[in-house]
């Protein structure tokens, strides 16, 4: 039981971080009809920015807050300047844009900060908490807590506030939304800003728990994509739940089935993605 709780906590911590990526992917998809494959790398870029601030002596939560705000602004600007322009062109334009951003961001990180791995210190204490006889690391609980809080905040904002209703309306029925006077373009930019902010939270949490290097979230993206597909591309809450389910499932499988082990986690998540795609075809609603 104690070992199970420890494995579960570790899996939840990872799953919650990846769920933030999936939520961001879902928001971007609902806004503009494209799955932003660069989401993980942009999150990593945010983490690099945060670590640079930390290296200059900033306090953790201040640096974190500034990074999230900067990332939101970056996502918002990205939609206004890039996504919106590219959307006018060929259908293939948006995937090409995400490919370009993915390559450029990874390249930029390696160029500025080098390819090596850093180990920024965690803001949570290294102590453990005893729950039902198991010693659970505060660090993992902290990561899971912050990530789930961020996801919940965004989901609550989407479903319980008028602004959230406006964002959802603009995504689902843009024509009608424009008709009643909603600023659909603004809502889209907001969606991408939120996606970037969520990504930055994921990136910083990942960096402090597993170390920071370019490409660190590429495996996480596979989990996020699997969760996204499981939960339904159109459902942000589904994306979060789906990613938690996939990550916890795969990680526990790896912990208890030794043949699978740690090395096959990412391929297992990829397999889940492929199986779900085979069994459940995706329907796409293109934004008007």
């Amino acid at each position: 039981m104690t070992a199970f709780l420890q494995h579960l906590t570790a899996a939840l911590a990872a799953g919650a971080v990846f769920a933030l990526l999936a939520l961001g992917l879902s928001l971007g998809y609902r806004a503009s009809g494209v799955v932003n494959l660069a989401q993980g790398e942009l999150a990593t870029l945010s983490a690099f920015v945060c670590v640079t601030l930390l290296d200059r002596g900033w306090r953790f939560w201040t640096a974190f807050a500034v990074t999230v705000v900067l990332s939101f602004a970056g996502g918002w600007a990205g939609e206004r300047l890039l996504v919106r322009t590219v959307s006018s062109g060929l259908e293939l334009g948006l995937p090409i844009l995400t490919l370009g951003v993915l390559l450029a961001t990874g390249g930029l990180e390696t160029w500025i900060w080098g390819a090596g791995r850093r180990a920024p210190s965690s803001p949570f204490s290294p102590a453990t908490v005893h729950v039902l006889g198991a010693a659970l690391p505060k660090r993992e609980l902290g990561v899971a807590g912050v990530a789930l809080a961020a996801a919940s905040l965004v989901l609550l904002a989407l479903w319980r506030t008028r602004a959230g209703l406006a964002i959802r309306a603009a995504a689902v029925e843009p024509g009608l939304a424009r008709g009643i006077g909603l600023n659909v373009e603004g809502m889209r930019a907001l969606g991408w800003g939120l996606a970037a902010a969520l990504g930055s939270v994921a990136g910083v949490l990942m960096a402090t728990s597993h170390g920071l290097e370019p490409g660190m979230l590429r495996g996480g993206m596979v989990f996020a994509l699997a969760g996204l597909v499981v939960g339904g591309l159109e459902s942000p809450a589904g994306a979060v739940a789906g990613t938690l389910a996939v990550t916890v499932g795969v990680d526990l499988l790896g912990d208890y089935v030794h043949w699978v082990g740690a090395g096959l986690r990412v391929p297992a998540a990829a397999a889940v993605l492929l199986v779900v795609l085979l069994v459940r075809p995706l329907r796409r609603t293109a934004p008007a």
């Binding site: 799955v35 494959l37 590219v86 062109g89 293939l92 490919l99 370009g100 450029a104 390249g107 390696t110």
Partner: protein
């Protein structure tokens, strides 16, 4: 381009390729063989985009399938390394078929997700099943001189280029392009779009597999580090830069992705570490391509819009 011009270009390129190694050292000749491998991979991507408008973020995964087929057959079972190339192509084709089957049921961009996931999943898979693959150290294959490797690599690339040329001009390809451009009309005209897409994925996979084999032949071994996600991304980027769906850009962009690093490294303040700037430049270029295309489409639409009252 008129067919006569195309023929002229092919003959000129063929002559250049045949003559170039006479002027180069063994090491450079071997490097140019990897360019042949990239060319074949990019050709596969061009065929896929041209046929059904899908981009594959995972050509590196097909290359790994083909490359390891070669490594296992040659390194562990003693099959002559050049004989493994068609087998590697077949293995890649099989993998393409497997990825193409879900494509039959999907609209939209779902395939790109699957291909991306496959590309990320391949190095850990190769590392884990080290009984087959030799793990991190990899598996070695027969070693051949640079001249032989070059001839084999470019021979295969030339043959596959001609096949691609024939394919894109064929009636089958015209049907596929019709399906790509207007799905509904094609269905109304009775075209079997699903079969076409499946064929496109199989062919792209086969080209990827052959490319992987060529890569392993020129390197002399196969290991998981040879097929990172970055390879898949750069190959797709090259296919886009060379002209989406156009096979004519393949050689030029293969040269680009191989040698851009050296060009950038020659710039004074960049120095030795080039992987970052190369990815950055290529990525930025892609963003520019996407944005300018979007801008010109918007401008064209505005120009053709009816005059406002």
């Amino acid at each position: 381009m008129k067919t006569r011009d195309q023929l002229g270009l092919v003959l000129a390129a063929g002559a250049a390729l045949a003559v170039v190694p006479l002027f180069l050292s063994g090491g450079h000749t071997r490097e140019l063989s990897t360019v042949a491998a990239y060319t074949v991979a990019i050709l596969g991507l061009d065929l896929l985009v041209g046929a059904c408008g899908r981009m594959s973020f995972g050509q590196g995964a097909f290359m790994a399938v083909g490359g390891y087929t070669t490594a296992i057959l040659c390194g562990r079972h003693g099959v002559g390394v050049f004989w493994t190339i068609p087998l590697a192509g077949a293995a890649g084709g099989g993998a393409g078929l497997a990825l193409g089957l879900p494509a039959l049921r999907m609209r939209g961009r779902a395939l790109e997700l699957a291909a991306f996931a496959a590309a990320v999943a391949v190095p850990p898979l190769a590392l884990h099943f080290d009984g087959f693959t030799g793990g991190a150290a990899g598996t070695a294959v027969e070693h051949h001189s640079p001249g032989v490797v070059y001839a084999a690599g470019w021979g295969v690339a030339a043959a596959l280029f001609l096949a691609a040329w024939a394919l894109t001009g064929s009636r089958f390809a015209l049907k596929l392009r019709a399906a790509r451009d207007n799905d509904t009309a094609a269905a109304a005209a009775g075209l079997n779009r699903g079969g076409g897409r499946l064929a496109a994925f199989t062919v792209a996979g086969a080209y990827g597999g052959a490319a992987g084999a060529l890569l392993v032949v020129s390197a002399g071994h196969a290991d998981p580090g040879m097929f990172p996600l970055r390879l898949s991304l750069l190959l797709l980027a090259a296919a886009v830069i060379g002209g989406l769906g156009s096979i004519w850009g393949a050689v030029a962009t293969a040269l680009l992705i191989r040698y851009l690093g050296d060009v950038i490294g020659a710039l004074p303040h960049v120095g030795v570490h080039r992987a970052g700037p190369v990815s950055f430049v290529i990525g930025l270029f892609l963003v520019a391509v996407a944005v300018t295309h979007g801008l010109s489409a918007a401008v064209a639409r505005a120009r053709h819009a009816p005059p406002r009252e």
